[in-house]
Amino acid sequence: MTDLTDAMADLDEQKVLNIVNEQIRTNKPVQILDELRRGLDIVGNRFSKNEYFLVELVMSADIFKKAMAIVEPKLLATQRASAKGKVVIGTVQGDIHYIGKNLVVAFLKSNGFEVYDLGEDVPPEKFVDTLKKTGSSILALSGLITTTHDVMRTTIEALKTAGIRKKVKVMIGGGDIGEEIVKYTGADAFGRDALSAVELAKKFTAGTK
């Protein structure tokens, strides 16, 4: 593990920015980015293992954003544009909880996904419209209250009605969601935390390529 990865994993903002500022002169920006992302993965892992909590997760995304501000301009246009994939995300209609969803957004973005965040209490049509408009192949739905399982189901049905269900992979998360809710709603997969959202998104894009 490199110092940069370490510093990122330990949330040492000053150190991360120092190293990035220094290496940006000599190293390839893609490599710096890679080391940062590895650090982020560790953060995500620590969160999954309950060693880190929400604040640390938010901080990591924040540090990453600051580091990116330095790295981004040096990336070649081609590298910049090569987003890993497009994700449409939102908290489903009837639910106002967005903290977890925003963490997922931050992690997807840090991992190079192009994210269309529709906010909370999002009606099915809006998901459908945005998927069509952006040509995204991944939909991420968040919902924390039990009563929104039905709404997820209706949302996914709306994709079918619009004839785009086959083109879009759907992941769900938040609250008590598990395998049976995946079945119930007709989604493709569920994730327990922000890191698993990233892993799912990667798996989905690998599958479609």
Binding site: F53, V58, Y116, G119, T147, T148, G178, E180
Partner: protein, 551 residues
């Protein structure tokens, strides 16, 4: 009768069941409370009961139950339909449950209604978890008897959302829950009448308070609006009907008064709190908090009232905590850690060996772990002699090893449990903070903090202050007021004037919708730190709220 017979012990109730009825469903149909957090989806592992004979364990049984438990015949009630006659033993006879019934009121009732000499009434606090009923003499205003029970709707889910989801998905689910709670209340009424040795017809009045969801389920109102954003209730105003119209059978001559609600998530129980504590007319600054799955928080600044509902989640009721349980026999209720590497000092409810941890001890444990440095302010546990890795649960603090404090098995408090407390604590602390901001007061200005409800009554205020669950105020300003909602119900029972006060206050209270509050999310995250804000938190400003616009 077709189908095998299922017998429930210790009550001995029996029922013939079809091949499609799970044991949980059967218990529900009899109104027997089996704890569930997940509402019967097999994910929470709380519906464990003993089967005789025991069926072959399912995948889920294996996942949630220990080898010993499996060997004892314990299975998940929601996972099994029975094929042969079976006897099942329910875990906690409810008589052992510690249910809060006492309450203290501000000044005495203004005026008793006239012309009611010799008549009786029953004041009911219909809570999500418990129902408490008081038999009162309408002529003198004095209490004759009281009775309490677990709300039988618990069998449909620990929290209101799970119950509402059931109502929406099951055929005639709303009627099923209404009948369920009516049966429960009839049981309480019958117990009151027979304990006091009076005739059912002498009961001429009933008053009832409860949160808005319980209110809707009790009246059989449409809950679709309430169950999804923007959480619109079908009805807020009060109502008076005959017991017959309501569907109560045990007191044929009673008029039932159902008190008004304030908002979708602030019900007439909060109106009861406000009225019984005289919050509409206080001189200084007084905060009242009723901590349940939702914490209702009311702040009165010289009688001007503002309130919110903070969705704490059920952690303080023992749900979502690995070995959490309600305050029943065998629950650890207080914990003190004198030496971090030695066994903790425990106090346990009843004459039983400890089985689990209830809300007051949950707060104690986190406070003690923080004080002894076993957990830091971010909530992370440190490896130490009594913090170990256990199976799939990661780090765990050992509250008791088998043998210590008479424990039959190892009792742990997990890292994940600490996280759950952080979420719950943060929701309440942030709700209180937002109200104070709205009124331009700080914790220094608070003259009294009234803790209503069971949890508020049993927690150690020191521990609650130490983890930052309550605003930082001197200990002596914290006043447990017991079942303040029930006290309110008594007032509404005895006096039409008090009912009029309830009507006015319920309309004039300002409601703050935390979900729409722009700074809530950021403050919430900061408040997840354990301890009081400003104790030198190591993470200054984190931002997660929707500040930035979308791409």
């Amino acid at each position: 009768m077709s189908g095998p017979m299922l017998v429930f012990e210790p009550s001995g109730q029996r029922i013939y069941v079809s091949h499609a009825t799970t044991v949980l469903d059967a218990a529900r149909s009899l109104g027997l409370p089996i704890p569930t957090d997940c509402g019967g989806h097999g994910t929470c592992g709380k519906c464990r009961i003993k089967f005789q004979p025991a069926p072959f364990p399912t995948q889920r049984d294996l996942q949630h139950l220990s080898k010993d438990e499996l060997a004892e015949g314990i299975r998940l009630a929601c996972e099994h339909v029975i094929e042969t006659d079976t006897r099942v033993v329910l875990p906690f006879p409810e008589e052992q449950a510690k249910i809060l019934v006492w309450g203290s009121s501000k000044a005495a009732v203004q005026k008793l209604d006239k012309g009611l000499v010799g008549q009786l009434g029953v004041a009911i606090d219909l809570g999500t978890t418990t129902i408490v009923a008081y038999l009162m003499d309408l002529g003198t205003g004095s209490q004759i008897e009281q009775q309490a029970m677990l709300n039988p709707e618990v069998a449909y889910g620990e929290d209101i959302m799970t119950r509402m989801a059931y109502v929406m998905n099951a055929h005639e689910g709303g009627e099923e829950l209404r009948q369920c709670v009516l049966r429960g209340i009839d049981v309480l009424l019958t117990r009151l009448i027979s304990a006091a040795g009076v005739l059912p017809d002498t009961v001429s009045r009933i008053s009832l308070v409860g949160n808005t969801a319980m209110h809707h389920l009790f009246l059989g109102l449409d809950i679709h609006g309430l169950s999804l954003a923007p959480y619109r209730p079908a009805m807020l105003k009060s109502l008076t009907k005959s017991s017959d119209e309501i569907g109560l059978k045990s007191v044929p001559k009673a008029q039932v008064y159902v008190a008004p609600n304030i908002e979708g998530f602030i019900g007439s129980d909060t109106v009861g709190l406000i009225v019984s504590q005289g919050l509409g007319s206080v001189k200084g600054t007084v905060m009242g908090i009723d901590i349940g799955t939702n914490a209702e928080i009311v702040l009165s600044v010289r009688g001007r009232l503002i309130c919110c509902s903070a969705a704490a989640g059920p952690a303080f009721e023992g749900a979502r905590i690995r070995l959490g349980m309600r305050g029943e026999e065998g629950a650890i209720e207080h914990v003190r850690i004198n030496n971090p590497s030695e066994p903790a000092e425990l106090s346990v409810i009843g004459q039983a060996s400890p089985r689990g941890i209830c809300g007051s001890a949950i707060v104690d444990i986190v406070a003690e772990l923080l004080r002894t440095g076993l957990v830091d302010r971010t909530g992370r546990m440190r490896d130490s002699k009594r913090i170990v890795h256990e199976g799939g649960y990661g780090l765990c603090y050992i509250v008791a090893e088998p043998g210590e404090s008479d424990a039959g098995r190892r009792i742990v408090f997990t890292q994940e449990d600490v996280r759950q407390v952080q979420l719950a604590k943060a929701a309440i602390a942030t709700g209180a903070g937002v109200l104070m901001d709205e009124c331009g007061v700080t914790s220094y200005d608070i003259d009294a903090l009234l803790l209503a409800g069971a949890f508020g009554n049993y927690i150690r205020p020191e521990s609650a202050l130490a983890i930052g669950l309550l605003p930082a105020i001197p200990l002596d300003r914290i006043v447990p007021v017991g079942n303040a909602a029930g006290e309110g119900a008594k007032r509404f029972l005895l006096s039409l004037k008090e009912r009029a006060v309830a009507e006015t206050l319920s309309r004039s209270v300002k409601y703050v919708n935390l979900a729409a509050h722009p700074a809530f999310a950021d403050r919430f995250l900061e408040a997840t730190a354990i301890g009081q804000a400003g104790d030198g938190s190591n993470h200054s400003h984190v931002r997660i709220a929707n500040h930035t616009s979308n791409p």
